[in-house]
Symmetry: C2
Subunit: 358 residues, 2 copies
Amino acid sequence: MAVTLAEVAVRAGVSPATVSRVLNGGYPVAGDTRTRVERAVEELGYIANASARALAAATSDLVGILVHDIADGYFGILAGSLQGALDPAGGGEPRRLAVVCNTQGAPAAETAYLTLLEGQRAGGVVLTGAAAEDPEHTAALTLRVARMAAAGTRVVLCGRPPVPVPEALPVATVVFDDRGGAFRLAEHLLTLGHRRIAYIAGPPGRSTTRERLAGHREALRRHDPALPEACDALTVHAGFERSAGYDATRELLRRGEPFTAVAAANDTAAAGVAAALREAGLRIPEDVSVTGFDDLPFSQDTAPALTTVRVPLREAGALAAQLVTGRRPLPPGGITTLPTELMVRASTAPPPPARRTP
Amino acid sequence: MAVTLAEVAVRAGVSPATVSRVLNGGYPVAGDTRTRVERAVEELGYIANASARALAAATSDLVGILVHDIADGYFGILAGSLQGALDPAGGGEPRRLAVVCNTQGAPAAETAYLTLLEGQRAGGVVLTGAAAEDPEHTAALTLRVARMAAAGTRVVLCGRPPVPVPEALPVATVVFDDRGGAFRLAEHLLTLGHRRIAYIAGPPGRSTTRERLAGHREALRRHDPALPEACDALTVHAGFERSAGYDATRELLRRGEPFTAVAAANDTAAAGVAAALREAGLRIPEDVSVTGFDDLPFSQDTAPALTTVRVPLREAGALAAQLVTGRRPLPPGGITTLPTELMVRASTAPPPPARRTP
DNA sequence: CCCGATCCAGAAAGCGCTTTCCATCACTCG
DNA sequence: CGAGTGATGGAAAGCGCTTTCTGGATCGGG
């Protein structure tokens, strides 16, 4: 049906080998021969069969990216920037294709998609999202990653902890300074005068959850060694979704423990927090300050604009693209930490003078 | 390097053909033979080479989806739901892989990615986003779509106008009732008492832009035949991004034409509109009402919550998945229109009594 | 009890491309 | 002026899987 390389060869009056060489370069081909082949390709509208090429070359132009949910801004930005940077910028047709896999953070889905990608002999794979800190899954994952890397697939872990694979394998890790960001965010709250700070943590057993919580508590401790424990009753584990923030806040309100600020695990949950607070008749930031994390685009348009921590997702995506395509060499040690930045906006203010119980 | 089907065959003591048949079904294989093969597959950790399979079968498990920008909520939701519905729900490993391509709406990028997908012998392709209404590109696209469809690739156009291909080809179209939604949205504004309604349209030459504007103007006309023209001076074409809404609003404000409401082409632009308005000291909705379009998740968390039109993106993605995988037969005529729904929230209210010039 | 129908499984021919390994050919050097 | 040399292009062997095409058993009906 479709035009094949052999037909192009016939038309150009050369052998298939020559056509292949013209198309792929890396081999001397005389000027006029090349021209004849190119004209034949043009005239026939030849489009190379990627499967055949991948089979013969034992590697494909596919790059897999595992995300929790591509509809989530965090992953959307990461994946978008990744996809855009897969091929060298400026001029030239794209060549590499991004395969997006929603795992919802489920280990089983992660494994299943890795199998699929391994079957595709993907040129690279990027794993994003907070890894489930399940020893069994981690072990299985390490094996998979090592096997794929050994087979020539470049692997990049982005926003999740590195896996222990042999040094020589092409595996890189890009992480965010979540801990530092959370630390500065808590510091900001403390400086404003807050002491009873509620914390809506992410789902338990996730590296991101742990890092952010650790940074937060570290700041509290630095301020007053007894503070982390004092705030324990105000810490709840929820999810990264809006509804999780909403529900957790209602729960907090129900308990009756007084607080003057709520730090959410991320911006999305913070939106839910704010909604629950407003519903309860509390003003932000006059009665309660609210903070998020990630600095997703919408956080500047919430009511009020959200104080948060900027996570360089765009940069991370572009970096991951360079690493996964091999355009950038692996950093020594294989791991790159990207800085985060405190973004102070309108949702935080000093606590109310009379310490009301919300 | 990797385990091949032949090795599995040797281990199971059968021929490669039999292993293939066990793996793919559709051919009778005796019970014990099947068991032996399955055990061999298990023991060897065999993962089929997808390229080889695609080459032999002349079709791959890849489904391409072209979007303007996957980081944009509109496309993120569409693509996410699409990806999630590629494989039949409930149980079973995933099989199909979604290839996401950001085109930024550029015809050249669209063509380039279609070429890549054609080379991959993709099982299906979903084109989303407002199509550029460029006759030349439309013609080229029609050819491409027809050729891919003729080669067995299922094509679904989602949220963009159908292309004229022969009836028999597997090409489906899923569109939103943008016009109806815009109509009802304008009606809502008119009912509140607004007459001087600014309209921040999307980029010119896009089907979505045209449909939404048409519905809007139709409602105005229905109310008062002279109204569309009266509002012409208040209509500006911008983009679908936040900054476009922001800039357009500043421009509107600068012109000095009085208005009591601003309808933006979509939610994202509406966020920019609201920001510009607030910066100018205008209150929403007391001084100016604002409306969006799409009902992206963040629109309930803006200040104030945005009146908008819900576009069933999730449903569309799932539907597109069924169509592109062939799990759902093409509807007669090939085109499905999905309804939109007016969502009245806090950003719209009656115009201020004294008609101030903002 | 023989024969066509029914099951299963193997042999082998590709699918379309890449990539050695060779064969030329035109020169250039001694 | 013959052999060595580099630049080109062709032949052919796969890459790993699917899918006819065949053929040997097994089975039921006449």
